[in-house]
């Protein structure tokens, strides 16, 4: 089953978000217009807006109110992707040339800053001071997560807690906040929106661990990029940390460097795949999912709870 089937009942509202996103990036600079529009039309899972809408169902759901948060969060995500392409020197994203590749770093920086400004314009429609404080704090944390990621590159003997803190900042926080702000925008009680944050946090942690596993187990076609790319770039993920427990693999990992030949990398990848690191990582991911499911049980009785559970279970099984 496709993920989008699980929330197909939101289709008309997701269409509202899509239209709003296209309007949001309209600019009187034709270059900015074209570049941002191409970026939006390239698609994406829109997972953050979906979580905003689903969570808003626990309050007084009004798409005209919650759309501002949904659009703002997707724009923040998009702005970070445009800047990430500069950071990673990426030529393509989702099979299309990046803004950085077409127009250069400078224009990509301006485009990212422009989209960020638009996201805050959307957020300014939200009166809740708490919502702004939460989102602002999250944005700062997400940036610090990326800084940490660069700092910890190729550091093989890092503690697993460092990895968890990093993926919390890199992925889980923005999903958690999408859930929480959806609740806040719809006027859900504090207890409810705190639980929604926890649900998003656990789902986000699980999602990123699966992502890190797939970097070893999925094919290049499934990933849309060569397998083992994270390791090659020096991003030390959970499977690597588990695999390091094997002395032979630990020694091999010490020899990893950015431009190492593909054949040499494949030897390391095979060793990691054949170790118990993948299975152990899956177990951790599953543990997070179980926590997410338990949190859903604590939420008020609503039909939407089943969708939240289905999404969590889907994430645990995803292959790409």
């Amino acid at each position: 089953m496709k993920l989008s089937f699980m929330y197909s009942f939101l289709k008309s509202d997701i269409d509202v978000i899509e239209r709003e996103l296209e309007m949001a990036i309209r600019s009187n600079s034709s270059l900015l217009n074209d570049a941002s529009l191409q970026f939006i039309q390239a698609g994406g899972k829109r997972i953050r807006p979906v979580f905003v809408l689903l969570s808003a169902k626990f309050g007084d759901y009004d798409i005209e109110k919650v759309k501002h948060v949904a659009v703002a969060l997707e724009l923040i995500h998009m702005a970070s992707l445009v800047h990430d392409d500069v950071i990673d020197d990426a030529e393509t994203r989702r099979g299309k040339k990046t803004i950085k590749a077409i127009h250069g770093n400078r224009i990509a920086m301006y485009t990212g800053d422009y989209i960020f400004a638009r996201s805050l314009e959307y957020m300014s429609a939200i009166e809740s001071e708490e919502a702004h404080k939460i989102l602002a704090e999250t944005i700062v944390e997400v940036c610090l997560g990326e800084v940490e990621q660069i700092k910890d590159k190729y550091v093989m003997d890092q503690h697993v807690k460092t990895y968890f803190r990093r993926i919390k900042r890199k992925t889980a926080l923005l999903i958690a906040v999408s859930c929480q702000l959806g609740g806040i925008a719809a006027g859900a009680s504090k207890n409810v929106h705190r639980n929604l944050w926890l649900y998003g946090y656990y789902v986000g942690m699980s999602y990123q661990i699966i992502d890190d596993i797939l970097d070893f187990t999925a094919t290049e076609k499934e990933l849309g990029k060569p397998a083992g790319g994270d390791l090659l770039q020096g991003n030390i993920t959970l499977p690597v940390l588990f695999a390091r427990e094997d002395k032979e693999i630990a020694e091999l990992l010490e020899s990893i460097y950015e431009d190492m030949p593909k054949e040499q990398l494949e030897v390391v990848l095979e060793k990691i795949k054949n170790s118990d690191a993948i299975e152990k990582s899956y177990k951790v991911s599953q543990a997070y999912l179980q926590k997410a499911l338990k949190v859903v049980d604590r939420l008020p009785d609503q039909k939407i709870k089943k969708t939240l559970k289905d999404i969590a279970l889907y994430i645990g099984k995803r292959k790409s």
Binding site: S29, V86, I87, M109, F116, H132, E137, I139, K151
Partner: protein, 254 residues
């Protein structure tokens, strides 16, 4: 007239406080610290002092965003190293996040909306400048003014200092023209001058130097007219700039 020493002291305090806010032990050990245009900070303080009990917080927010945008200006294709480029992108994003946090703590969503529009305008104009889209000196100055004064103007608008905006905007245009004239004489080619070169090429009757000098003359006359028109709002600002210039002159004279 307000005491300049006090303003300078307040400027130093504000900058020290801001630096403490964005310090990061790793980030700024790899890349250089963001730099402040102290004269600009002084001008901000000069204009906003007394407008709101929390004026320093408003100022901090605007300055953090200016620092963020300026930091992103340092992201160039052939930078010193990949890591430095990566961290420069992130430093700008981090400062943007701190800006939003600062505004969130103010709890003033109209201010957030206003500054977001300013950031949007600044980036649209930067793209126009980068693509050399200006067809005339007038267009070029409009684009450059948005980049130079949009944040400041939007903050002043928030406090309804509309007369001050006219004077400050015109003053900053003159400052820009003076800077670019110096750059041209030193053969430092900036995006502004690249645009102007293209305009001069199309025009054929005027050189870059004469375009700059003529515009500077016109603007100085225009500035005097504005100062007369908005006299009540302008005397302290004009006096302030005069004082600045005098100090600068004395320093240069040694």
């Amino acid at each position: 007239m307000k005491n300049n020493t006090t303003i300078q002291q307040q400027t130093r305090e504000l900058i020290t406080g801001l630096k403490a806010k964005y310090q990061h032990p790793y980030l700024f050990s790899v890349i250089s610290q963001p730099t402040f245009d102290e004269e600009r900070v002084q001008l901000f303080i000069y204009l906003l002092k007394g407008q709101h009990t929390n004026y320093k917080k408003y100022l901090e927010s605007a300055l953090l965003m200016e620092l963020a945008l300026n930091t992103h200006e340092q992201v160039i294709t052939n930078g010193p190293s990949l890591k430095e480029r990566q961290l420069t992108v992130l430093a700008g994003d981090y400062l943007s996040g701190l800006y939003y946090k600062s505004v969130a703590l103010l709890g003033d969503t109209p201010f957030l909306l206003r500054l977001s529009k300013a950031i949007r305008n600044v980036n649209e104009s930067k793209i126009k400048l980068k693509l050399s889209e200006a067809n005339s000196m007038k267009e070029l100055l409009t684009i450059q003014s948005i980049i130079d004064d949009s944040m400041l103007v939007h903050v002043l608008q928030h406090f309804h200092l509309n007369d001050e905006i006219k004077i400050v905007s015109e003053g900053l245009i003159i400052k820009r023209l003076e800077v670019e004239l110096e750059n041209w004489k030193k053969r430092i080619i900036t995006p502004f001058l690249l645009n102007l070169q293209a305009i001069a090429k199309k025009d054929k009757t005027e050189s870059v130097l004469s375009l700059l000098e003529n515009e500077l003359d016109d603007r100085q006359i225009q500035f005097q007219t504005i100062v007369k028109k908005y006299w009540s709002a302008s005397q302290e600002i004009v006096e302030y700039f005069r004082q600045q210039r005098k100090e600068q002159y004395l320093a240069e004279e040694g």
